[in-house]
Symmetry: C2
Subunit: 293 residues, 2 copies
Amino acid sequence: MSKVLMAEVNISEGTDLSIVEKVKEAFLTVDGIEVIDIDSNADHNRTVFTYKGEPQNVLEATKRLAAKAVELIDMTKHKGSHPRIGAVDVVPFIPVREITTEEAVDIAKEFGKYLGSLGVPVYFYEDAQEKEYRKALPKIRKGQYEALEERMKDEEWYPDEGPKEFNPKSGATVTGARFPLVAFNINLDTEDIDIGKEIVKSVRAAAGGYTYVRAIALSLEEKRQVQVSMNMINYEKTPIHRVFETIKSEANRYNVNIVDTELVGPVPIYAIRDILDFYLRISKDFSIDQIYS
Amino acid sequence: MSKVLMAEVNISEGTDLSIVEKVKEAFLTVDGIEVIDIDSNADHNRTVFTYKGEPQNVLEATKRLAAKAVELIDMTKHKGSHPRIGAVDVVPFIPVREITTEEAVDIAKEFGKYLGSLGVPVYFYEDAQEKEYRKALPKIRKGQYEALEERMKDEEWYPDEGPKEFNPKSGATVTGARFPLVAFNINLDTEDIDIGKEIVKSVRAAAGGYTYVRAIALSLEEKRQVQVSMNMINYEKTPIHRVFETIKSEANRYNVNIVDTELVGPVPIYAIRDILDFYLRISKDFSIDQIYS
């Protein structure tokens, strides 16, 4: 089985779909790319392209996508509700199969170098960034596009690739590698948001819960339920089943039951396999290649 | 998403791999076929080809495969430990996606008609057979190839397609449609086969268990365990999780634990989804298309 890398490219255009279409055409000129999802959101004025393939093909496709987006998108005119810092806003490369995070970081750095050569300031984040203070995406994107020109004058915020000068049309790009993320929500049969907030504490990293869980409690007014909405940022180290069982057990304390759960967006088959292993004690001989659809 | 049909073609050759190779070449001349598994077993002297694709492509590939196998395999010389009745022994067509059992039956009948036109007596089985007494594969294959010539003289065993006369070189072929099968084994931390046999009764259809479970208890001498070895013949109506939980509960009665379990061979993603639904209460909005690998 060959190496598979995924890219999730966030561009700052989600209203003018003719631009999105041209960007799509540009990256689909590369062979061997499998599109997983293309999602345009008009409120966010943002489109997310998710696709996968062999690492070199994914790198080439991402270069062409980014070059076209930088050509067509003008950040001086951009408005949208989602935080953003540039035309090609964030580009995580995600190891899917037979590929290490280190290899994904190398691809991100090569992509950053290329984009820098086009005149776009580029910041590396997460595992692709060595400086601790600028590893997290929210820190790099602080103040968004509007604050970028001023921030770039500070040596601490010189970009990792590309010009040190602000580029008004493109803004900046953040790229790096990250583990596949799983969006997992658990709906509880209570309307009491305070109970939801208490339950969230049991799993949320920032509150003493699991290291790789970001979680908040939300009111689902229409359903009269409370939702624990989570991003599982490393399902290997903090597996889905463990978080589910913890929330079930904590909810029980308040006589609250789980109504149902939601897996949102792409889910890696490896995360599914972990769940099977836990509940059905599947032996290690089982290969995900046995699964067909 | 287009229709997907799977074929599992069992031919009576598993020792002379040059013949298997020629048969493989013949069916791979059809475009759009995805091979899932090709498994040759020398003891059985049998090869199982598993592949899938759009129904018409699968039908065409299966015709070519069968024609080549009938040309190259001589049943008058066949020896092997697995029950068999012909060169192309059994050909189930299995609905995978967006296709009904009825449509799969139609494909099986078309395939049977074609094979009959090549001079091979063909029996339909399971849903493709209307006569109750000849629906089950073991009944059709009773006495195997060696008994076929005599049996075919009996009006009750005239074939559904092809000549009414015995064909010594090809023997007969059984074809039809069946639901995807899941082979599921549960290993118990006991060496006592009698306990295994008691536990098996809780799930085995013939002993009063679940309708769609065929199960036996086996001794795993080396591991010093007992295995409940099962064919789940309809995972929709008798789901995997239910059988697992029943065996766990029954084993508990004898102070026996489950060591691990095995999913053997191809497993449909829909069966996996059922397991997730049960243990994690995944909402109905979740689509298997969200899973990637």
